[in-house]
């Protein structure tokens, strides 16, 4: 395949995937407001468009047209760079998520932007870089709330990344690959082949850690509004604030995509007779189900205290994940021999 075709194929896929992701981010904010409203016997946004459907677009326009304020005493360069450092890792991870079975396009194979053989680690590498945006943004704002939010976020993200990393090891042992496509194909053929049934403990620890990793309620310490105003992006406004916002929601979608690939069979249909439905529909359905779960627990639980969060991460989740690895490894060894 020629270089030009490769690049064209990549550009087309990037454009489509990024379009879908950014649209999902926009409508994730809408869905969150709506679902939370229904849980609280309200109606949510109703004014812009029918049932408020154009609300995210109005919000986006508003944010992009607002004045960009840089507080006095802030470190201007890092203040400007931090939102971008936060946003890029959140978006770049979608490059390795397989959204469909391989199909031929322009003489190449579509279905993933690029199928790295270390795809999973690639996502985690960039997710860990996302913490820089938060910490630097908090530090550069020259504000005590932002600094505290950044510090909390740093501690939280580092701790819970460990949990995420440990809870996926069981899946890796089962599928014997780090490529997300290989992991998906390993779960082929009906929902009873999903890793969820083999690795229920890993799924639970992964989901809890993912909630903490994306700074969502009930683990939204870095932006606990009742104590830290808005945490690390207290001083941000306009477009830069929008970047942080986008990054948070893109991260949510990314960890949900990853959970559906790792535990729920990714683009595979839940049963053989449903194979006529295209793969990306299944991936989207599974991802949105997990996103609904995110909103659901936000609507249910109050925020935990910071020391409780740390204690839970280090003293409960990590040991549980380690025991899970041990049990899985022994089980895989016995089955293979």
């Amino acid at each position: 395949m020629e270089l030009g075709t490769t690049v064209l194929l990549a550009v087309i896929q990037i454009a489509v995937v990024m379009g879908v992701v950014l649209l999902s981010v926009a409508y994730m904010t809408y869905a969150e407001r709506k679902v939370l409203s229904f849980m609280q016997d309200r109606l949510g946004p109703m004014e812009v468009g029918p049932w408020g459907l154009l609300q995210p677009i109005a919000d986006g326009l508003k944010l992009f047209m607002k004045e960009d304020i840089i507080p006095s005493g802030a470190n201007k360069i890092i203040f400007a760079v931090a939102p971008i450092i936060c946003l890029i890792p959140a978006l770049i991870g979608f490059a390795v998520v397989p959204y469909s079975e391989g199909f031929s396009l322009l003489g190449g194979t579509g279905g993933t932007i690029t199928d790295l053989n270390v795809g999973l680690l690639y996502i985690f590498a960039f997710a860990s870089v996302g913490a820089y945006g938060v910490i630097l943004g908090g530090w550069a704002s020259n504000s005590k709330y932002a600094l505290l939010g950044g510090l909390r976020s740093g501690a939280q993200v580092i701790s819970y990344e460990l949990v995420i990393g440990l809870s996926i090891v069981g899946v890796l042992l089962l599928s014997e690959s780090l490529s997300l496509r290989a992991i998906t194909e390993h779960q082929d053929g009906g929902f009873w082949h999903w890793n969820l049934w083999v690795q229920p403990v890993a799924f639970v620890t992964y989901v809890i850690a993912a909630v903490a990793e994306t700074n969502r309620l009930p683990f939204d310490m870095p932006e606990a509004e009742s104590e830290l105003v808005a945490g690390f992006f207290t001083e941000y406004s306009g477009m830069r604030f929008a970047f942080f916002f986008l990054a948070e929601y893109a991260n949510m979608i990314l960890v949900s995509c990853l959970a559906s690939v790792l535990f729920l069979g990714g683009y595979e249909a839940p049963a053989e007779f449903l194979n006529f439905v295209p793969g990306f529909v299944w991936l989207a359905l599974k991802t949105w189900a997990l996103l609904f779960f995110f909103i659901w627990i936000r609507g249910t639980f109050p925020r935990v205290r910071f020391d409780q969060l740390m204690k839970f991460g280090w003293k409960v989740l990590i040991p549980v994940a380690l025991v899970n690895i041990l049990v899985t490894a022994v089980g895989v060894y016995i089955v293979n021999n």
């Binding site: 229904f38 849980m39 659901w296 249910t300």
Partner: protein, 204 residues
């Protein structure tokens, strides 16, 4: 048992189940600008001044409302009706809504039921000076919300007499029946009609 419960997170799941059920309950909010609450008759909204049915002003300029007001937001300038000694009216009447606490004491104090509270609660303006209601604004409000004012007087002041003088007098209210000076059938106005007042003011 407790350990098993905490491992399976039973209590958390119970909470989540409750929240999930709540999603399917009907909403209990009003879409405010499109749908409004039914306001009870005794609601204490913006103040207004009322007229008799022939258009003459009820207010006799007695300043009792000014005396009753706990936040000193009412200012009455009383004057004689020109050419009618012994008959007084409020030449000027100011009510500072920014200070008003909406207690309704002035309407209780008013002996002629000239003051009534309407159901208007959207008092926001772009210029704070517009919240300094003068006599004209108060009478305008009274004209616009006459039914609300009457309903308020019936509900809040328990008054059914002076408001409708021909149907009998109330027993908890002073009454100022129209003064008959012997000239013609028509009852002589107490106070001035709006047009007469404006003419009066323009002369000065």
């Amino acid at each position: 048992m407790g350990l098993i419960r905490s491992i399976f997170m039973t209590e958390l799941l119970m909470g989540m189940k409750l929240v999930f059920k709540q999603m399917f309950k009907p909403y209990c909010t009003l879409q405010y600008p499109h749908v409004r609450h039914d306001i009870p008759d005794g609601y204490r909204g913006l103040m207004s001044l009322l007229r008799y049915e022939d258009g003459s002003e009820r207010c006799v300029g007695c300043s009792l409302c000014e005396a009753a007001c706990p936040s000193n937001c009412i200012k009455v300038v009383s004057d004689e009706v020109p050419g009618q000694p012994l008959v007084r009216y409020a030449r000027e009447y100011y009510l500072d809504i920014t200070r008003c606490v909406f207690c309704g004491f002035c309407t209780e104090a008013c002996p002629v039921d000239a003051l009534a509270m309407t159901k208007v609660y959207e008092a926001s303006v772009f210029d704070r000076r517009d919240l300094m209601f003068d006599k004209r604004k108060l009478y305008e409000l009274g004209e616009q919300h006459l039914a609300d004012g009457k309903a308020y007087l019936i509900a809040h002041n328990m008054d059914d007499g002076t408001l409708f003088p021909k149907e009998g007098l109330g027993d908890n209210r002073y009454s100022f029946p129209p003064v008959d000076l012997g000239e013609g059938e028509r009852p002589v106005t107490v106070g001035l009609t709006r047009e007469a007042l404006e003419m009066e003011l323009s002369k000065q």
